[in-house]
């Protein structure tokens, strides 16, 4: 099982009385981009939150490199390299760009390489370097998304989960972030992507899960999924 970094087995969870996930099983392979697409309310974000542990699993298992991490707390999972770039970015608005990045790099596992990681993030996003002393709140939407990704990378992720990479961004900016994602993939980082821009998500990813009402009715190599009629009709508007 060494070729699977993260595995979900029949995962169920939800909020209060409301069940959102009805048995999600998926496998994430190292160095690959795994994409989750699906309608609003299908359980994409809830899946990422349940993997991270900010939403507790009701049943099922989460395995990381073969080890059961289902019941671990979010900070313990983070310390093992599970990193979430949340929807809406959730930056520290009154901290500077660099301080936000340092918050990401503060964990025990990443602290020793703080300088190197910072240099790496600045190399990946020169824009953040230019704006390092600016408060996060003054950044444009695209720059904020760069910062959220940069903060995630500061944690030296084993698995980087990104919730809505391109939401609300202009086409050219969304495209640039997708190209950055490609660079990260080439650097060997394992990525789980939840994304509304199905076109770009399918293009950049290796394997795709299509969610519907808390289940996974369709999965496959992204290339195959992109050519399925039901996917083209429902998600690509073709």
């Amino acid at each position: 099982m060494t070729d699977i970094v993260l595995q979900l087995e029949k995962l169920e969870s939800g909020y209060g009385e409301v069940q959102v996930l009805w048995g999600i099983s998926l496998a994430v392979r190292p160095g690959k981009v795994t994409t989750i697409i699906g309608a609003n309310g299908a359980g994409k974000t809830t899946t990422l939150r349940t993997i991270m542990g900010t939403v507790s699993p009701w049943s099922g298992r989460i395995l990381m490199n073969g080890q059961d991490v289902t019941k671990l707390s979010p900070h313990t999972k983070a310390s093992r390299g599970l990193v979430l770039v949340p929807e809406g970015r959730q930056l520290f608005p009154d901290m500077s760009v660099q301080e936000n990045l340092e918050m990401g790099g503060y964990s025990h596992r990443a602290r020793k390489q703080l300088k190197e990681n910072l240099a790496r993030v600045f190399e990946l996003f020169p824009r953040l370097k230019e704006r390092r002393t600016q408060k996060a709140v003054t950044l444009s939407g695209g720059e904020q998304q760069m910062l959220a990704m940069g903060r995630g990378l500061m944690q030296q992720p084993v698995v980087l989960m990104i919730d809505e990479l391109s939401l609300g961004l202009a086409p050219v900016l969304a495209q640039q972030l997708f190209l950055t994602l490609k660079t990260l993939k080439e650097q060997g980082i394992t990525i789980i992507l939840v994304e509304q821009n199905v076109h770009l998500a399918l293009a950049v990813s290796d394997y795709t899960y299509v969610f519907a009402e808390g289940r996974v009715p369709i999965e496959g190599e992204s290339r195959e999924v992109a050519s399925m009629n039901e996917v083209r009709k429902a998600y690509l508007g073709l």
Partner: protein, 250 residues
């Protein structure tokens, strides 16, 4: 064909940053005018200038023949300009119906509670939220909250509706529904100024498009003209071969 909205050489600075610089355009009554441009281009700032949230540093804005420059938002909505917000802002402690009722109470007609509620019910029918009237606003999905934004603005009985990214975050089916709704709003006699990133949608909806970049007007024209403008392609639309570029590594 007189201009309903006339934005004339407006400028807005935040400290050293010129967010909107010397921008002019007009919107003709009955028109859907699209406002596009990269993030940080000044689109939402321009909305905030039109509806009075921000004071102008320079320039003039007229609506229906009246100077509305620097009039406060409550007066602007009373004159007939309503808006939605990019980040949906329902009153979270209230139901869907109560939210829309508030829009009618503080809109163009300053309705009392009872007639306001009647208007709110009609508007909810119109946007397809009637069955959610008693739902707490917080428990709507994103698509529901976007519709609630539109409903609340419509309840203000506007002549001009400013829509700030009402399609962001919607899936293709929901996008289709919202596009139909915007068309029917215009057909009911309300003019529309809309910010949108979803190109197919804005191209099919707009009569004309204004493109902003770095605070300035980059281009203006019919959709077909604007997409062929090389400045617009470079600043905004990006690489036509992006999918091939992304696939390259596989």
């Amino acid at each position: 064909m007189t201009a309903l909205l006339d934005v004339s050489r407006v400028t807005k600075r935040f400290g050293g940053l010129v967010a909107v610089s010397d921008v002019s355009f007009t919107l003709v009554e009955g028109e859907i005018l699209g406002l596009i441009g990269p993030n940080g281009a000044g689109k939402t700032t321009l909305f905030n200038m039109v509806n009075g949230v921000y004071k102008l540093d320079k320039g003039k804005i007229s609506f229906a023949g009246q100077d509305i420059t620097n009039r406060p938002p409550n007066e602007v909505v009373h004159l007939g300009v309503a808006r939605t917000h990019q980040i949906v802002k329902p009153l979270y402690g209230m139901t869907v119906l109560e939210n829309v009722t508030v829009g009618a109470c503080f809109g163009r007609d300053y309705l009392k509670l009872k007639p306001a509620r009647k208007v709110a019910i009609e508007v909810l029918e119109r946007v397809g939220l009637a069955d959610r009237a008693d739902t707490p606003a917080r428990s709507l999905t994103i698509a529901g909250k976007k519709r609630l934004e539109v409903a609340r603005a419509l309840a203000a009985h506007p002549k001009l509706l400013l829509l700030d990214e009402v399609l962001a975050g919607l899936n293709p089916t929901e996008v289709e529904l919202m596009i139909g709704m915007v068309r029917s709003i215009r057909d009911s006699g309300i003019s529309v100024l809309m910010i949108e990133h979803l190109m197919q949608a804005i191209m099919s909806l707009s009569d004309r498009i204004v493109v902003l970049n770095l605070g300035s007007k980059l281009a203006e024209g019919r959709p077909a003209e604007v997409v062929q403008n090389s400045d617009v392609v470079e600043a905004y639309l990006g690489f036509p071969d992006i999918v091939d570029k992304l696939r390259g590594v596989q």
